[in-house]
């Protein structure tokens, strides 16, 4: 710990590396045990909770996977092809998302582009649209009979671009994941002093060259960790490949899992899908190990002495502003407009004219009793999940970044792993253990699964600010008379509360529209919003489904604005 004050003498903000280089003396006379006991108890409690909400269901899946040897099946053509598709689409989409997210972060946080604040909010909207809804909206835009393709066909005799198939899957996955990249990269960007770029300018580099040779390389660790996060998440996505990929027979592992369950063509499908789940788990674990290795080689950055100076774009300002606005609006507003038009039309195929517009769908979607119970359930469950994830994630994040213990990495990994597993597999895990823990057919089962699936969001979002806080903040509290535990609570914990709240809001927004977990774990008679939309869809009430999606998205947008304000 003494090295933290030493390191801060030179002014760096990233201290974790320096800290780990100099472990505390392990010589520890007996009397100190008492002051450390509080922390050890806290850590034990966190381990117990994590064991309950993460390890248990994971264990169930693993046990199921190894109850019989299904490995030969994995080597079959179908699975290999699907695995290949999954990997390719996840990697490609993550690459695209990282490119787009990084470009946006640079443009919005480092230049004097016009309307940056509004753009930022718009750019984040894909976070709010459930991927399967987004996919449906995009079909009506870029499907074979989308307006663009129809027009193109009439003029040039062939469609411009058909969204169905692998390319569409990659495109949509990228659209739904670039906001996460943007959030991560822009946080990292804020920690890179503008001095570094200006030093390059003075050395003779043009603005673009300075960004290319200085800023981008320094962002690389953040870009890589965003990449792993997004790639792993996209590996598990179900909605987009099932709606966009399947029509062109582009099968991924998560749609394959669904097919195995659905078609009854394999023996003991649960064991098979668990096996696939374990494979995905291993891929995710590998990705996380890479992430840890990469972040270990993170550069030490000094605190900037000068305020961030925005790069004047000069003559490029207007064209760049227009291009960025156009790009962002096309990606975000177009699907919303598609949803809106569907919501206002009575049935698919009815031409869009003033006479045909109706509010019936909106009324039907919002007034159905099942929507109301769904909304109540979803709001209750997601708010609870947000709260629990907030508190638990904050505690885990604090303990993992602010104390030293061999088990910290394991604890953090445990909290991060579930995000790589498809919702369906998580749900199966919980279904299997539910009867034994007496949660079967209760909403608490879904709550547990939500906590498992989303805890990573909060852990992730509190770690960054905590890592940037020097250890002296806690030492000052101890000198003031606080025990280790008290110092952890009063100082680190409270300082990370805003980040935890922002993370919790993200959890709420994600959980409120969750589908694949809820659909399996719901008690008879219960509903959630995601399931509502899906049910409407399946019942052929597409337009009502659009209406409901639109409403959820708009409410979420408001919530996101709130979160953005909190995070600041």
């Amino acid at each position: 710990m003494s090295s933290s004050s030493k390191a801060s003498g030179a002014g760096p903000v990233v201290l974790d590396r320096a800290r780990s280089r100099f472990p505390q003396p392990s010589v520890r006379p007996r009397t100190d045990a008492r002051t450390g006991a509080g922390i050890d108890l806290l850590r034990l409690a966190l381990w117990l909770v994590c064991a309950a909400v993460v390890l248990l269901p994971l264990g169930a899946i693993v046990v199921l996977a190894f109850s019989a040897n299904h490995l030969p099946l994995l080597l079959e053509g179908d699975v290999l092809q699907a695995g290949l598709n999954s990997m390719v689409s996840a990697v490609l989409s993550a690459t695209l998302a990282v490119a787009a997210g990084t470009a946006l972060a640079l443009l919005l946080d480092r230049t004097d582009l016009r309307g940056r604040k509004a753009l930022r909010l718009f750019a984040l909207t894909p976070l709010l649209v459930p991927p399967f809804v987004g996919a449906i909206a995009w079909i009506s835009i870029a499907g074979p009979t989308g307006p663009a393709n129809v027009a193109w066909t009439t003029w040039f005799g062939g469609p411009l671009w058909n969204i169905y198939g692998g390319d569409g899957v990659v495109f949509l996955l990228a659209i739904h994941s670039y906001p996460v990249v943007y959030i991560i990269v822009s946080a990292a960007l804020r920690r890179i002093p503008t001095d570094l770029e200006q030093a390059a300018r003075i050395s003779g580099a043009s603005a673009v060259r300075a960004v290319r040779t200085i800023t981008l390389p320094l962002l690389r660790p953040a870009m890589l960790s965003a990449f792993t996060l997004v790639a792993v998440g996209n590996l598990a996505d179900f909605g987009i490949p099932s709606i966009i990929g399947l029509p062109e027979r582009y099968v991924t592992l998560s749609t394959l899992i669904y097919r195995y369950i659905q078609s009854g063509t394999v023996e003991s499908p649960l064991e098979v899908i668990s096996t696939i789940g374990v494979v995905l788990l291993l891929i995710a674990a590998a990705a996380m190990v890479i992430d840890v290795l990469v972040s270990r080689s993170r550069f030490e950055l000094d605190a900037s002495s000068s305020a961030v100076q925005l790069l004047p774009l000069g003559v490029a300002r207007l064209p760049l502003t227009m291009a960025t606005w156009l790009g962002v609006l096309v990606i975000t507003l177009l699907p919303l407009c598609a949803l809106l038009s569907q919501a206002l039309l009575p049935a698919p195929g009815v031409p869009l004219t003033w006479q045909n517009l109706t509010l019936d769908n909106i009324v039907r979607a919002t007034s159905a009793p099942s929507t109301l119970t769904g909304a109540m359930n979803s709001v209750m469950l997601s708010v609870l999940a947000g709260l629990i994830c907030g508190v638990l994630g904050l505690a885990i994040g604090t303990v993992v970044t602010r104390t030293r213990a061999r088990s910290n990495t394991a604890l953090k990994t445990l909290a991060m792993l579930p995000q790589a597993i498809p919702g369906l597999v998580i749900a199966v895990g919980w279904l299997i253990i539910a009867p034994r823990i007496g949660l079967f057919n209760t909403p608490w089962l879904i709550l547990c699964a939500y906590v498992m699936a989303f805890i990573a969001i909060v852990v992730q979002s509190v770690s960054a600010p905590l890592k940037a806080t020097p250890m002296t903040a806690e030492e000052a509290a101890r000198i003031s008379g606080a025990t280790r535990l008290r110092a952890l609570f009063d100082i680190s914990w409270r300082m990370a509360v805003p980040a935890a709240i922002a993370g919790s809001i993200l959890v709420v927004l994600t959980a409120v529209r969750e589908l694949t977990i809820s659909v399996l774990l719901l008690a008879p008679g219960a509903q959630t919003l995601g399931v509502n939309i899906f049910s409407l869809q399946q019942a052929g009430a597409y337009n009502a489904a659009s209406a409901l999606s639109l409403i959820i998205t708009l409410v979420g947008l408001a919530g996101l604005g709130l979160a953005a304000r909190r995070a600041r």
Partner: protein, 363 residues
């Protein structure tokens, strides 16, 4: 031929804050100029305007004979041929020391052989030979600052800009880098503009010191001039911790208002243009011009408020009838609480009007 010429430069930030106002300054080729002034006085603003990171809203800036900024012209920072060292050194952490230093030459498309040679030269100059392949993270603060310096001078800039370049360093390091910086820039004849908070540093290093306040130049002069003939009482206070006594002057000398301080005429320094023999004004007394003697018990005695030991002279603050007087006196170190008699060896008189006149002339 002037190396940097600022003519009527003004700079108003978009939010309306006035950063600079009516700056006229000509920095000669090979000159070392220090910018000092209180926090917020516009030092950084001025430097960044020269660098090209800020655009003046009035006036013009020339480098040699090239106009680099005025109402219609703006040469980008990378095209101005400058070198700059930042407070937090801004060494690029992802490159080795050598790569950091070579970057300006890479950008200038200097052939590899020449590049290697020039980098080696400049590394020797700043005493970093042997550190070529080091990762900057493994360097100490002083070594990093040396890398930044080497990087700034390797491209043979027209002007070297230093923005608090030494402020982030510890005292012993700062001390030795100061020496190095001076001998280095002298030996290669660089024109330097050095922004600093540290008055001693400015006086120690510079050929000329520019005192800024509120975005305006208060005084420009050599260190000796600034210390011995500050153009206003304010400059004396800022630069030398002079104590200011308001009062009146007549042919016998100066008498402070409501205060026992009085200075006979022969100890009063009234500047070259002085002719008025009486009037209201103020005197500024430098800490070195004050003598202390053990108190007599008289009601006009002063009390020692703080007493800091120094090698050559102790730094003592006495409270003299309500006024805090900063003194730098050698010999016996008076302790806090002792009573002392304050003597004045020399004082500078300013009457409000004259001070203003001089100020305008200086600019």
């Amino acid at each position: 031929m002037s190396s940097v010429t600022l003519t009527d430069v003004g700079l108003v930030y978009p939010d309306g804050t006035v950063g600079l106002e009516n700056i006229n300054l000509a920095i000669a080729d090979g000159e070392f100029v220090a910018l000092v002034g209180p926090s917020g006085s516009g030092k950084t603003t001025l430097l960044r305007a020269i660098a090209g990171f800020l655009t003046p809203t009035a006036g013009s800036i020339r480098l040699d004979d090239t106009l680099v900024a005025d109402r219609s012209t703006l040469v980008a920072p990378e095209k101005r041929g400058l070198g700059m060292v930042f407070q937090q050194h801004a060494v690029w952490p992802h490159w080795s020391v050598e790569r950091n230093i070579a970057y300006p030459l890479v950008l200038a498309r200097v052939p590899r052989a020449e590049r290697t040679q020039r980098v080696a030269e400049v590394m020797q100059l700043v005493g970093l030979t042997g550190f070529e392949q080091r990762n900057p993270a493994t360097l100490s603060g002083g070594q990093r600052q040396r890398v930044a310096l080497a990087r700034a001078i390797v491209g043979r800039p027209r002007v070297l800009l230093l923005d608090e370049a030494l402020s982030a360093l510890d005292e012993p390091l700062r001390d030795s880098l100061r020496l190095e910086l001076q001998s280095l820039t002298r030996s290669i004849g660089l024109t330097v503009v050095h922004v600093t908070h540290d008055r001693e540093e400015a006086l120690a290093l510079a050929d000329r010191v520019v005192v800024l306040d509120g975005g305006r130049i208060q005084q420009v002069g050599s260190p000796v001039e600034l210390v011995t003939r500050p153009v206003t009482a304010e400059v004396a206070r800022f630069l030398s911790d002079a104590t200011i006594f308001p009062g009146d002057r007549d042919r016998n000398g100066f008498v402070a208002t409501d205060h026992p301080c009085a200075v006979p005429a022969h100890l009063l320094d009234v500047g070259s243009g002085a002719d008025a023999l009486s009037g209201a004004g103020m005197i500024a007394v430098l800490p070195e011009d004050i003598t202390l003697e053990p108190g007599t018990g008289a009601p006009t005695d002063a009390v020692v408020a703080s007493s800091l030991y120094g090698r050559a002279s102790n730094d003592i603050v006495v409270t003299w009838q309500g006024i805090s007087v900063r003194c730098r006196v050698p010999g016996r170190r008076y302790l806090v609480g002792e009573t002392v008699v304050v003597g004045i060896r020399r004082a500078m008189f300013y009457d409000a009007a004259r001070a203003l006149v001089e100020l305008v002339e200086t600019r």
